[in-house]
Symmetry: C2
Subunit: 442 residues, 2 copies
């Protein structure tokens, strides 16, 4: 440890057990392992020095942004060094003409978006945590968000990366141009690799023209299946919503209990949709055609989107949460909702679901008793049923949160033996000593 | 060879030297090596049998779609078996609700687009060769096209792949959902890998809503730099063109010599732009503000786009062509055009350039004497200068054609030693015997 301290500028290495413990968690309930130190990197050189030292001594390294992950990807493992990138916050370049930014990994997602807006641009990916999450963490998990129904996920905005490899070598992937096919797509390989292949120290990301302020539609339905049918109709009509969210009955009740939103007794689901292209009346009409009981169109939708953003805190009031993240082909949305409701009933578990419905990406949140170290068996049983249902419907275990630790036990259901072999071969190539975020993602 | 014939259904293996020679070329001038056989695969099983046999006997395999490549990626190497996928032409599924298609690699790109249009959808990627190129070839090269300024390149439409690996194992990558983050992004790794990592036998691709028919703007300029400035202005104004092409003076003259289009003597460049969102008048205005001498807006732009599609055949009338493909950040477009013109003058070479200008992707075509086995030294010298200029301006050697054989000698200028090491490590992982398209791409 003295060697590491010596290799880095004064004050970068923290070993106080209270401090290391506070850096060990993400947003899951998972009990972290005991880290031996936290490195607060302020430059690429700090990252290189840390990884060289870790390679030499075969010490596990857990890279970390803001710790807003929902799958355990950045939880500490025993004996590790936590490598925090949250102090690398420079926006090195923002080119309005080329519509790109070059940013350090600790930049807060919403800060980059705000910086882009000053030039009439935006940074599109907006995970729910975007006011506190970092670009580096978003890249590591290939984060999604509300806008990705129109603008794609984080990978779709990543053009090039500077990555420090496990042995301290520096790899530059991708480019500054919007197109380019020289060599293998290493940028996409690192995006979503959850810190297991290297540590991202700089990213060239794509910005987009900031759109006109959207108009917002809110529609109440007497059944979630009707709401899901309206989603299909909106997509099929080519409305190109910039946001299309479904909130189920359990979630609406949790919000209503807290904030008294005047939920009608017959309302079993709500859709919130936005259009930047003047399609709000068409979307409203399609909601009515698909059985909506109440439809509102508003110019300023901030209150309605605010309602959607209350979903998580409203559930957290009810107990501890296992936040899940299945994604299914869009046409399977009604069936998936029915299967979630069936799993909740069969195992007597409260499951509150919100969905990025336009993408078929559902977040069933399994609520369980506070104080328990982990979800009780009936919650795991219900979750197991939900995962299997998603795969059965042609879907995936995780649409945007990542595998982390939480979903590893179901991984083999989705990835057959050949994929698993290839995953481990790639891991071996980049990190032969298995020091980078060991035990995560694959 | 008898063993291979025995392993495949009757008639799949052709060994007549005239036939194998005819399958050995792509669209470049490159003299192919001597193949020992052509396999006309009709199923995944045929591909598996071929690769198993090739692995066992360490025979090189060159996979091939329609042979429309422009970089030598599918030219035969000595002693190889050419594995042609062009008979695997089934569109296995087309789901309008999920906006996906599941297709075999030999499907002609435009055929998939036409099939999608019957459902109000489209397949967006449209390389210039899309009436004759295959989806498999497009995936292998990550092909671009005219529409990608709005809809992205082939990789942006690839959701999942079935790939036969060098040893005959079957790997399924990706998924049917629009989002998903389970495991490493193997789909993106295979897209653009130019047949060096595996053979794609099935692809799940994304379809998009077919847009309204576009309106077309054609603008003539007295300088290419003015035209490039108009491109920047159109992008900066957020017009979202669905096509934005620049044709330089040498190309216009080649077309005019052939088709008598009435080219004005003062016209030194032309822009052709399309909008599906009613932005044609704004784009026309921006062309005028940037010095266009003549601007037309047309509802039916098929003639104008047809003019653009004449660019290649018009140049081929003048001699043999070395078709290049550099891509630069958009703001560097005027400077890149000036550098191409300087290289042409310095080395006394005719270079005709068209550009997917909205992407900063230029195709300088170096015309040289017919009958020569390869470009003469002054053409290579000019090309070398153009490649170095693109890299110097923050660009790349190839925006959409691939590295193939043609650009290998410049590869090290763009990919440093770490990238090169990683490329070879990945190749080694997937193809330890180096039998898949050896000598290409990396």
């Amino acid at each position: 440890m003295n060697e590491l301290k010596y290799a880095l500028p004064e004050g970068r290495v923290l070993t106080d057990p209270d401090v290391t413990a506070s850096y060990g968690r993400d947003r899951t309930f998972l009990e972290p392992g005991k880290a031996r130190a936290v490195v607060l990197a302020q430059s690429r050189d700090d990252v290189v020095a840390t990884l060289r030292w870790a390679s030499e001594h075969q010490v596990p390294v857990v890279p970390r942004g803001a710790g807003t992950g929902l799958a355990g990807g950045s939880t500490a493992v025993d004996g590790c060094v936590i490598l925090s990138l949250h102090r690398m916050t420079a926006i090195r370049e923002l080119s309005a003409g080329d519509e790109i930014a070059v940013v350090e990994p600790g930049v807060i997602t919403a800060d980059l978006d705000r910086a882009a807006r000053e030039h009439g641009l935006m940074y599109a990916p907006d995970p729910s945590s975007y006011e506190i999450s970092t670009i580096g963490g978003n890249l590591a998990t290939n984060a999604g968000g509300l806008r990705c129904v129109k603008y794609g996920v984080t990978r779709d905005s990543a053009l090039g990366l500077e990555v420090v490899l496990a042995d301290g070598r520096i790899l530059n992937t991708g480019r500054r141009t919007v197109k380019g096919v020289t060599g293998y797509d290493l940028t996409s390989l690192f995006v979503g690799s959850e810190g297991t292949l290297g540590v991202i120290t700089l990213a060239t990301v794509r910005l987009r023209r900031a759109p006109a302020p959207p108009a917002t539609v809110a529609a109440e339905f007497t059944s979630a299946v009707d709401a899901a049918s309206a989603v299909s109709a909106i997509i099929a009509a080519g409305c190109q919503p910039s946001l299309l969210e479904l909130i189920d009955h359990a979630t609406l009740r949790a919000i209503d209990d807290w904030k008294n939103i005047g939920l009608e007794p017959g309302t079993r689901a709500m859709l919130i949709a936005q259009s930047e292209d003047g399609a709000e009346q068409r979307m409203a009409g399609l909601c009515e055609e698909n059985g909506a009981s109440n439809v509102a169109v508003e110019e300023d939708g901030s209150e309605l989107v605010g309602l959607r953003r209350l979903a998580y805190p409203a559930k957290e009031r009810l107990g501890q949460c296992l936040v899940e993240d299945v994604c299914v082909p869009r046409t399977a949305l009604p069936e998936m909702i029915a299967r979630i409701e069936a799993a909740a009933a069969a195992h007597d578990v409260l499951i509150c679901t919100v969905a990025h419905a336009g993408d078929g990406n559902l977040h069933p949140v399994f609520v369980f008793e506070r104080g328990l170290p982990e979800p009780p068996p009936n919650v795991w049983a219900a979750a197991d049923e939900v995962f299997r249902a998603a795969l059965d419907l042609g879907g995936t275990l995780t649409g945007e949160h990542g595998v982390g630790l939480l979903k590893r036990r179901w991984l083999a259901l989705e990835c057959g033996p050949v994929v698993t072999e290839i995953h481990h071969g790639i891991k071996q190539l980049f990190d032969p000593q298995n020091i980078l975020n060991p035990g995560k993602a694959i």
